[in-house]
């Protein structure tokens, strides 16, 4: 069954030998680094490092696809900040009547490097970690099993709802509903597609909650796990290095 997750099984250090929580820590550290790293070359280095990690995880191609989703926004940041940034003084480039300023461009560069670092870091986690593994690891460390259930259930519900949506669309089109045409036609098609889907999902809610209740879902007490905890070796030094380097960058920002 296709789930909405982007995880794909591969045999790299990040997929197999790094535990989900260390990866989560890595992402958090990179997020903090992206915000506190002080100079432009530093930010550039950080972005390159993160992209390098993606390359090592053999997921660079798919991460670029995620980044491409923001490409238009990044380009427009360069245009708008380059032209209109408030502290603009030095003209860098003159194109016809438009002048791009050095201050705006370097501000745009700062923002885009930060965004690229964050998306690359997030992608590293998302692309190399199975969501169920991540949730299981979190529940073992004390995250509420209810929250974990909600997140895990979404993984199953979305493909189910997608299939139902396709069925409903075919059924409504067979009854003569127009799904193409002018904007108002398309708007009017929205409700007859969505309402049956929501209705059937709500009937499901009651069945699901009864099924869970029968299995003692709302009982308190510690949970046991279906799988035994996988063992990862050598993760403690990795975590120390991550926290240490983040503290280092923080000090650079504060005292450098």
């Amino acid at each position: 069954m296709n789930t909405p997750s982007l995880y794909r099984e591969q045999n790299t250090f990040f997929h197999k030998r790094m535990d989900p929580l260390s990866k989560l820590l890595l992402v958090c550290c990179l997020f903090i680094d992206a915000f506190v790293v002080p100079t432009l070359p530093g930010a550039c280095l950080l972005a390159l490092l993160t992209v390098g990690l993606l390359y090592l995880a053999r997921e660079l191609g798919r991460a670029v696809k995620i980044l491409a989703g923001c490409a238009l926004l990044l380009i427009s940041i360069f245009l708008i900040q380059g032209l209109f940034y408030q502290n603009n003084q030095t003209v860098l480039l003159q194109v016809g009547p438009l002048s791009f300023y050095r201050e705006g461009i370097s501000y745009a560069l700062k923002i885009s490097l930060r965004v690229i670092t964050m998306i690359a870091a997030g992608s590293l986690l998302v692309l190399t970690t199975s969501p169920t593994d991540l949730l299981e690891a979190c529940v073992r460390r004390g995250v509420s099993p209810r929250l974990a259930y909600m997140l895990a259930a979404i993984l199953q519900i979305i493909p189910l709802m997608m299939r139902n949506a396709a069925k409903i669309q075919e059924a409504q089109e067979a009854r003569g509903m127009a799904v193409r045409g002018s904007l108002s036609t398309r708007f009017r098609a929205f409700l007859p597609l969505l309402t049956p889907l929501i209705l059937s999902s709500f009937v499901n809610i009651q069945e699901r909650s009864m099924a869970l209740e029968v299995r003692g879902f709302s009982l308190g007490g510690p949970r046991t796990f279906y799988r035994s905890e996988p063992v990862y070796k050598g993760m403690l030094p990795v975590r120390f290095v991550l926290i240490g380097s983040t503290l280092g960058i923080l000090c650079w920002r504060l005292f450098g």
Binding site: L73, Y149, V179, S201
Partner: protein, 198 residues
Amino acid sequence: MAKGAFRLTTLGIVMIPVAVGINFIGKQLANTLNLPIWLDSIGTILSAVIAGPWIGAISGFVNNLFFGLTMDGGLSIWYGISSIAIAMAAGVLAALGWFRSLPKAIVAGIIVAIVSAIVSTPINVLLWGGQTGKAWGDLLFGMLIGNGVNIWLASFIDELLLDLFDKVVVAALVYFIALGLPKRLTQGIRSAETAVRK
């Protein structure tokens, strides 16, 4: 959900993934039908309206957490705060009776849009220097800061413009959908709200 804070019934917990699913399908449908707005908060607002602000807020939070963790490399998580605020606003408005008729629902949509814009603006400024990533809003943003308008105000106007259109349509849709749901179903869920006990 720390111990002692509040507990949800199973029905409430089961409803939340469905709300997230509705958000997702709404977004997909808007894409396939080529509509110029997002429509990605139908589930959040619907759950807030029929099950109360708490379940709505959790739906909104879980929604962004989920899509941040599975799809877009963490960007959505930042906007989780906006989702929570949207759900809270919609839930409180619904409790005050602002989703009982279409004109009222539209006014509620406007209020929700304003709340959403207030909460989203700092995130936009922090992440993107103030832009929203939708061409027509950002064009206005560029023109405003080019004319010396403060970044925060320009970003707020940019976001509000997009939110107004989106949230008013969503509020109207939620009104019609909630109207179409059989009482037998909503009654059970409404009791999930009272079950958010202290």
